[in-house]
């Protein structure tokens, strides 16, 4: 049943799954590769909200739930494969398969916990500790993601990140 409503989509590196101003109507499961969700501010600076690798979900829940144009871009930063389920069909599957619905709820609760932990890190840690926290909690991402994108995820400048990496490498 889930298979019949799913569409596979291949994206090459640098291609977009979502561009700002568009409305996001899908649930997207990453089968292969890596996606980055980011916002571009008035000065043209990019701010990365999320990296999603294999077995993670990506998308914009604000646009999905409220039907508003997205303020985010979702870009493949590696050649990637994603499985898409339209929100209407996703709801239908959730209604028909309660265990699927429960699994999705608990995934959402986990994402909420991750968000809360990130907020906690953002408001309480120094730039150096933010970097170390990221490396500890997401080692699989730290080695895969370009440094300028990592800096934009941590909310620090690429220069600061490069200084921190030199400092921590020496330790």
């Amino acid at each position: 049943m889930i298979e019949s409503v799913s569409t596979l989509k291949k994206l090459r590196k640098h291609q977009f799954l979502l561009q700002e101003g568009d409305i996001w109507n899908f649930n997207a499961f990453v089968c292969e590769g890596c996606f980055r969700r980011y916002h571009i501010d008035e000065n043209g600076n990019e701010h990365t909200l999320q990296f999603s690798i294999e077995n993670w979900w990506t998308g914009d829940r604000e646009s999905l739930n409220l039907g508003t144009p997205s303020k985010f871009n979702i870009e493949a930063i590696e050649n990637s494969v994603v499985l898409l389920i339209h929100k209407d069909q996703f709801e239908m599957v959730c209604e028909k398969i309660p265990s699927f619905s429960n699994t999705i709820s608990s995934i959402l609760q986990k994402s909420m916990t991750v968000s809360q932990k990130r907020i906690q890190a953002d408001i309480s840690l120094t730039a150096e500790d933010k970097y170390l926290h990221f490396v500890q909690t997401s080692p699989q991402l730290a080695s895969r993601v370009p440094r300028n994108m990592l800096a934009s995820y941590l909310g620090i400048s690429p220069e600061t990140l490069s200084r921190i990496r030199k400092l921590t490498a020496r330790k």
Partner: protein, 193 residues
């Protein structure tokens, strides 16, 4: 107090009197004086907590003894530690009352039971959860993208009902900036006006 909760729930979904009776039957009222705790770190959080009056904050204390405010909840909002709630592990957060407050508590088991028996409540809670998830994403965006000054204006514009009710150093701790930086921003603004 129960009238207040009834009216709140009525706005969320078309609730019947029987359904409200089921909810009231498992709801515990708790009065919390200013500075008293609803949760202290190392305890396990096992409740759903609705603020019917007052103001609560949820925060962590770091190794240096500094407080970092993760959330502020006024009337008609919920509070709690979702990580401890879902994992059953000890919390590293504290929740205390910043004003004399009235809280309604429903235990995790009772709440689960209510969600099963009252589909309208289940749908409404899922919607509320989505909204708080969206809010948390927007707070992350603000944290990583805005200057200290923009963060402050964003906060006072988004939560005018909270910013007038809490001391400045707590706003700074919520925004992740120092009290000195916040004071400089405010002085700077006064001069500009």
């Amino acid at each position: 107090m129960t009238d207040h909760f009834y009216n709140y729930l009525k706005k969320l979904f078309p609730i019947t009197e029987e359904e409200f009776e089921m909810i009231s039957a498992v709801t515990i009222q708790k009065s919390l004086r200013k500075k008293k705790f609803l949760l202290q770190e190392e305890d396990i959080w096992r409740n759903n907590a609705f603020v019917s009056k007052g103001l609560l904050r949820i925060y962590s204390i770091d190794d240096r003894g500094l407080e970092h405010i993760l959330g502020l909840s006024v009337e008609n909002n919920w509070t709690g530690d979702i990580e401890s709630y879902t994992s059953g592990m000890a919390s590293n957060l504290n929740i205390d009352a910043l004003e004399d407050s009235e809280i309604l508590l429903i235990s995790k088991d009772n709440f689960k039971d209510l969600l099963k028996k009252i589909p309208g409540l289940d749908t409404a809670m899922k919607k509320l959860f989505e909204i708080s998830f969206i809010e948390s994403q927007n707070r992350i965006l603000s944290n990583i993208s805005l200057s200290a000054e923009q963060k402050y204006h964003n906060f006072t514009n988004t939560f005018p009902e909270i910013s007038g009710r809490i001391p400045q150093h707590m706003i700074a701790s919520y925004l992740g900036i120092t009290a000195e930086t916040l004071s400089r921003i405010k002085t700077h603004n006064t001069i500009q006006k």
